[in-house]
């Protein structure tokens, strides 16, 4: 079995494991509950993320109307748009205390975000070392791990900064 198939199987197993953890967590703690302020903030976060995606797609569609981008492949173009939109939603919600439901433990969520960042950054860095992220001057689909890794790493950093500032304010 080649490395590509092994990677796909590892990815599927990881998704199944994460889904199992989420289902187990929901069974123990009950579903995530957001209060009215958090729902409002999350709605606004979705809107900003969605608008970012529309603007990004319109820009990319306009720039590459009848030609392929010369700096990356199609998958990379899409993954960058998804990553930026998801990052805007996450950062907005974290900064306004609406990312976590109020029956979740912040430490667990923080560790979970860091774990996903590490899980994405590890293969991303391996790809970077093998030189497969940029081939013939073009960003390839293999950049997706490192991009999503940075999305989660930035989210974790914002999470830490917000908690740090809050703790400082309460002193």
């Amino acid at each position: 079995m080649d490395a590509y198939r092994l990677g796909i199987i590892a990815g599927i197993l990881f998704v199944v494991a994460v889904a199992a953890v989420c289902i187990w967590k929901q069974t123990c703690n009950g579903p995530c509950r957001y209060d009215e302020r958090q729902e409002r903030v999350r709605g606004r976060g979705y809107k900003y993320g969605f608008l970012t995606m529309i603007i990004y797609n319109a820009l990319m569609g306009g720039m590459y109307l009848d030609t392929m981008p010369d700096w990356c492949d199609l998958f990379a173009v899409n993954i960058i748009g998804i990553a930026v939109s998801a990052l805007i939603f996450a950062v907005y919600c974290i900064w306004n205390d609406a990312y976590m439901s109020f029956n979740e433990r912040p430490r667990m969520v923080y560790l979970f975000i860091l774990g996903i960042a590490a899980f994405n950054l590890f293969p991303g860095i391996i790809n970077l070392m093998h030189g497969t992220i940029v081939e013939e001057g073009k960003l390839t689909f293999r950049c997706s791990n490192i991009i999503m890794g940075f999305v989660f790493l930035i989210s974790a950093a914002v999470f830490w900064l917000k908690n740090h500032l809050r703790a400082k304010g309460e002193e």
Partner: protein, 63 residues
């Protein structure tokens, strides 16, 4: 505008933001945001807070 009436009513009852949040079913940050004047709660939440603090809507939320 800060809601000092809510803050003082909560302090008079010796209830922390976290305890009040749990009693009315919201996050502590939401109670903090209401007290700071950063968030206008719905009438449903106002009533829940008033019930816990034994106050009327006028006493806590009317200027």
């Amino acid at each position: 505008m800060k809601n000092l009436k809510l803050k003082s009513a909560r302090a008079a009852k010796d209830i922390s933001q976290q305890a009040l949040a749990e009693l009315v079913g919201v996050s502590r940050q939401t109670i903090s945001a209401i007290e700071k004047g950063d968030y206008n709660p719905t009438i449903r939440l106002c009533i829940a807070i008033c019930k816990v603090l034994d106050k009327t809507l006028d006493e806590l939320f009317w200027e």
